[in-house]
């Protein structure tokens, strides 16, 4: 989060309260940027209106890539570069390759997905992202609203947060 952005943070005590508060605040035409919580809350992603993750698509692509790479490697080494007879089978012994292709698929998917996840969430080594409110790592729930992206005035946003049950409202 860059320091030039203008955030209003509503701090809540209870996960049910924050879940209901999201709907209440959104009902007033205010866009909610995100909600920070020490643990996952069921239904929160739907309430905030986050799009579903596209990681499964990435997984499929990494898997396909892994399968193609493994098949290419085996067929290059075992058929073209240095053909070898193993167990009296053809050079192009497809059934033998399937377990290896499977492993390659899983390996590419696993590494690819972890990397994609970390990159898309700014989680590379050495990166220090300070939470908007350090207490979201303990027992508080924070609803963050980006003032610049909202047409509603800052005062109205603060009031809406207070009305929805926020124990404190901060500006950051």
């Amino acid at each position: 989060m860059s320091s030039t952005t203008n955030y209003i943070l509503g701090v809540y005590d209870d996960e049910d309260e924050v879940l209901h508060a999201v709907s209440a605040v959104k009902a007033k035409g205010i866009k909610v940027e995100d909600v920070y919580s020490p643990f996952p809350i069921h239904g929160l992603d739907v309430a905030v209106g986050h799009e579903r993750t596209r990681l499964p698509i990435a997984a499929f692509m990494f898997g396909t890539l892994g399968m193609i790479c493994t098949f290419s490697l085996i067929s290059y080494t075992m058929v073209f570069d240095w053909p070898m007879i193993i167990g009296g089978k053809d050079f192009f012994a497809l059934p033998n390759w399937i377990p290896i292709a499977f492993e390659g698929t899983v390996l590419f998917t696993a590494f690819g997905l972890v990397s994609t996840f970390c990159i898309s969430n700014d989680l590379w080594p050495g990166n220090k992202t300070l939470p908007l409110d350090i207490r979201t790592t303990d027992d508080k729930f924070v609803m963050a609203i980006n003032v610049d992206k909202n047409k509603v005035s800052a005062a109205d946003i603060k009031k809406a947060l207070k009305d929805s049950g926020a124990v404190e409202v901060n500006v950051k």
Partner: protein
Amino acid sequence: MAGHSHFSPANVEEHFEFTSEGKKRIIYAFIAGVVALVIGIYLLSKGEAGGHEVAAAGHDAVKAGHEAAAEHVSGGAVSHQAGVEEHYDWTNRIWANVWLNAVFFTGIAVVGMFFVSLQYLTKSGWSSVMKRVPEAFPKFLYISLPILILVFFFKGDVIFHWMHHGVTEVGNENYDKIIAGKSGYLNKNFFLIRLVVFGGLWILLWKMLRKKSLEEDLNGGTEYFNQLVKIGTAFIVIFGASSSVFAWDWVMSIDTHWFSTMFGWYMFASWHVTTYAVIVLAILYLKDKGLMGYVNENHLHDLGKFMFAFSIFWTYVWFEQFLLIYYANLPEETIYFLERWEGHNKIYKTSEILMVILNFLLPFLVLMTRDAKRTRIFLKIAAFLIIVGHYIDFYQMIMPGVVGKHGGYGLVEFGMVAVFASAFIYVISDELTKASLVAKNHPFLTEALHHDI
């Protein structure tokens, strides 16, 4: 998430009504099946419905393979193929079909019990909204197990090579050293004992489970749940052994010379995934009727995941069995796949390829995304493909060994499926009417109603 706050377990009791309209439709299907069967049998008796032309070259190649295998194993014992040829009679294909369908539908019936037991053993919450559907399946065991026993008793020698006259008798012209060596396990009495004892235990435990489950509806209280967990656990233990034993008995022993240590798993995987497909179709049918509104896309998603996962599990087991045999390349093992791939004038090759497409490729692609698993039409397509595919799987397990080159897809096959499937649907529908569709006093019902994934 939203949408079921109006439903409270205490005030809803839903009953499936098996209308005379519905009964009529199923009876018509049954009659159509019987008619097809009768015509099929007539054609068969005239010798018009079988693939009986012999393409000499292919046949000889396989024969050579068979002979090599037989020689390798026993030094000149009669190969299984020769056994089929000697004993073949045109009625054999009818009995093979009865056996095939009885085994297939017994599997669906008993895995319904297995599913419910598994849910109790793992104390799963989500499935409590729909457990009444699989709970009704084992009722069909009352029909299919007696059929298995009768066919085995009267026509066992048609199906099983090891029951042929004289194969275990030293000095007899049919004497087969390998089968004689297996006769301690594969003999008529012990086979029947296993069938009656394990089959009886299945029915007994299902009756106990069903009784407790219905009493829970009346009285409520967690003591029923705890008793059901015990019954379910006992069943899982028994089913763990009996599913393997029956896979050897009912299917693997058809190809008596051949054996595979993965066969129990393989057949169980096939039964298992078929049953999920049947559960999905049954629930979607009930939902289309306006019932089971509390079963939402989250529950369907879970069932879709089961279909997807166990399709892949089946593929894994099927392929590993093939791979080990392919890699080791022992004649007595490869003969199983040789027979299905290029044996019998190659009549089983198409089914073998089709089966892998239907059972792996299509469910894998159709059910891969989250949205597909939550959309009824995709679930229906996938479930239908899986049921057809696994029927062909069982066809491939049983037919080559029993009828060999006389096999094929004719009116006998389609008629027999129609007869068994309509009988199955009738029995299950009738059983479904006997209890509320929702187990309203199940302790995890509230959890299931709020299931969200």
